[in-house]
């Protein structure tokens, strides 16, 4: 039995939005509204959904980029959601992040050496010589070399920058890495390089990933378990093959059928558009949040919000059809 490294319980993150009138109470944008899942040690959990569904907010809540509204974030069973300052620092050391945009994730005024050794500086690890050695070791690990030490980010291509970002994340030997759409800004021929590297590193260092993406084929490829989000809610979660082979929620089904297969013969089959747009998160539908676009919508769906139900081992879905 694997142990849970991270468990999120009923996570909520609300942002204050505009007031409806001067005396009216503040309206809240419920970016994440009650999300629960866990990630086993050494595994990859994939979080998918369309833009604005709250998947990035979940990730950033876990690494404590901001305070959450409600819920618990357990790291090896200890709730870190209310920790601050020094207490939090020992957890921060174990959690790292790789961002989506390789252009805005590296400070353009620093050299590669300064960028990668930043976490080492923060945690005061080693002296100057040892840090340099560690940086060189990391650069080689991600397929760059020591000639790159003194260069600036603008001298690198997108794929290389993402490698620098990975080297930086590895520098303080984390246990958990949040991968926030790490490949969506990269060229197709580079994406596979980065994904392979993430997998190799996971095997070598026993890393645990939360992999956030909107590209379902890559998420399926890299994840052991997957959660599907829609408008701040988790609508389905389960082992990745199970989700792909037996998608239960109508939204998951629609998402999967919207994936464009790179195969002209399957073309006629693959385009099956889901009608309509995502409703505004400021004013989500009452019952099931997917009800406005669901072709199976029943009366019940407009009134009662479905709860996650386990339909097969470790595979749960929030839908009244089950």
């Amino acid at each position: 039995m694997k142990s849970k490294l991270i468990e999120v319980k009923d996570l909520k993150k609300y942002y204050p939005a505009k007031k409806s009138s001067i005396i009216g109470k503040t309206q809240y944008l419920k970016a994440v509204d009650g999300v629960s899942f866990y990630i086993n040690e050494g595994e990859t959990f994939g979080l998918v959904g369309e833009s604005g569904c709250g998947k990035s907010t979940v990730g950033k809540s876990i690494i404590r980029l901001f305070d959450i509204t409600d819920g618990e974030i357990l790291y090896r069973g200890k709730d870190i959601s209310k920790l601050n300052g020094r207490q939090l620092k020992s957890y921060r050391r174990k959690m790292q992040v790789i961002f989506q945009d390789p252009y805005s994730s590296l400070n353009p005024t620093l050299t590669v050496e300064e960028i990668i050794s930043e976490p080492l500086d923060v945690y005061n690890i080693g002296d100057k010589g040892q840090r340099r050695e560690r940086v060189i070791e990391l650069l080689e690990k991600v397929g760059l070399n020591k000639d790159h030490l003194g260069r600036y980010p603008h001298e690198f291509s997108g794929g290389q920058r993402q490698r620098i970002g990975i080297a930086r994340a590895l520098s303080i030997k984390p246990e958990f890495i949040l991968c926030d759409e790490p490949i969506s800004a990269l060229d197709v021929s580079i994406q596979a390089q980065v994904v392979n590297m993430l997998e190799d590193l996971q095997e070598e260092l026993g890393l645990t990933y939360l992999f956030i993406a909107h590209d379902l084929s890559m998420v399926r490829y890299i994840s052991h378990r997957i959660g599907v989000m829609y408008l701040g809610k988790l609508v389905e979660k389960g082992p990745s093959d199970e989700i792909y082979n037996h998608p239960a929620h109508p939204y998951t089904q629609a998402l999967l059928s919207s994936v464009l297969e790179p195969d002209p013969k399957m073309a006629a089959k693959t385009i099956k558009a889901l009608e309509g747009d995502v409703p505004s998160p400021l004013n989500p539908p009452k019952g099931c949040r997917f009800v406005t676009r669901c072709k199976y919508a029943m009366k019940k769906c407009y009134e009662i919000e479905p709860k996650l139900k386990e339909i097969s081992p470790d595979h749960s879905v929030a839908c009244h059809l089950y």
Binding site: V188, N196, P262, P264, V278
Partner: protein
């Protein structure tokens, strides 16, 4: 055989900046036939967007067409004055861009913007133009178009905005529509809707479409012919079936292999293309893909390959396809 609507002949585009010149497009030939969707696939820096900006006469700043012709309905667009191009843009050739947010002016209503475009190109009264706008909005699937006419761009969702832009682009019934990554900024479910719409409209209006994208899934689903670009050159051209089932060029093969397989249950390791795209500021003597190709031979770095044909319409630019060289051994057969 269908007639060509647009022919690009030996086009070269170079950007001159203070550090020297960047040859973004290095001599390409292709044509667009009437009523087809031509896909141009390539990574960033492959020259696909620059090619299409040259067709529209919208190259800005230091970029110049240094060689070649762009023949549209028998006339070379490169010889046209800016005034003549203004007439052609929108009326004959329309373009839609990647980001639907920046393509609409936020201070005017969506309907007014489309009406203005119609009035600029056609001799219609405002009333007639408005009627036509609403017709167009309906055609691209915007619900309650009459009310939506008076909405501002921020009141539209991303998918709706892209629909409105398509309506604007098609409002003057252009013969050619250039769509530059029209779905990249959109979510997958919306992407499927927009592609479906483009396909439908092509049938209805018989518009030719050039679809620029980096996504092979998009190409497989809506294009009939494909041009694969890399390093400012065309690596391979053929029908979708040719490209996806019998690719000639190692680059095309590499691209297809680097995608995760979705069909099977077995998890196969991805096969990436090693290395990084070439820096176009450097002179490339041979094949631009030589540094990343698993089959590189000496000649690849020295001499630019010719095109070799497999059938009439399927060509690839690679020395491996040359029987006389490929026969000599040392390099690998597939």
């Amino acid at each position: 055989m269908k007639d060509s609507l647009l022919e690009v002949k030996d086009l070269e585009v170079t950007f001159f900046n203070r550090n020297g010149k960047v040859r973004a497009v290095r001599g390409i030939n292709f044509d667009v036939k009437k009523g087809e969707i031509l896909g141009i696939v390539g990574e960033s820096g492959s020259g696909k967007t620059v090619t299409n900006l040259s067709i529209m006469g919208l190259l800005k700043g230091t970029g110049k067409v240094t060689k070649g012709q762009i023949i549209y309905k028998g006339e070379n667009l490169l010889n046209k004055s800016e005034k003549e191009m203004l007439k052609i843009r929108g009326n004959d050739i329309a373009m839609i861009f990647q980001d639907p947010m920046t393509s609409l002016n936020p201070v005017f209503t969506v309907g007014n913007q489309i009406t203005d475009v119609i009035m600029r190109h056609q001799k219609l009264s405002r009333k007639e133009a408005k009627k036509k706008t609403i017709e167009m909005l309906k055609m691209v699937g915007i619900p309650s178009a009459e009310e939506r006419y008076n909405n501002y761009p921020h009141e539209f969702s991303g998918g709706m905005r892209q629909r409105a832009i398509i309506a604007m682009a098609l409002s003057c019934k252009p013969d050619l529509l250039i769509a530059d990554e029209p779905t990249t900024a959109l979510d997958v479910t919306i992407q499927a809707q927009i592609l479906e719409l483009l396909k439908e409209l092509k049938e209805k209006l018989n518009t030719s479409i050039i679809l620029i994208t980096h996504d092979l899934g998009v190409v497989a689903n809506i294009c009939s012919r494909v041009v694969v670009m890399y390093g400012g050159m065309i690596m391979e051209e053929g029908s979708v079936e040719d490209i996806f089932y019998t690719p000639l060029h190692p680059y095309t093969k590499g691209l297809l292999q680097s995608l995760p397989k979705t069909g099977g249950k077995m998890k196969e390791r991805l096969i990436p293309i090693k290395g990084n795209p070439p820096n176009l500021a450097n002179e490339i003597k041979g094949c631009p893909f030589a540094d990343r190709c698993p089959y590189t031979m000496d000649i690849c770095r020295e001499k630019q390959p010719k095109y070799y044909y497999d059938g009439e319409n399927h060509r690839g630019m690679c020395w491996l396809l040359d029987k006389s060289i490929n026969g000599k051994g040392e390099n690998h057969e597939e």
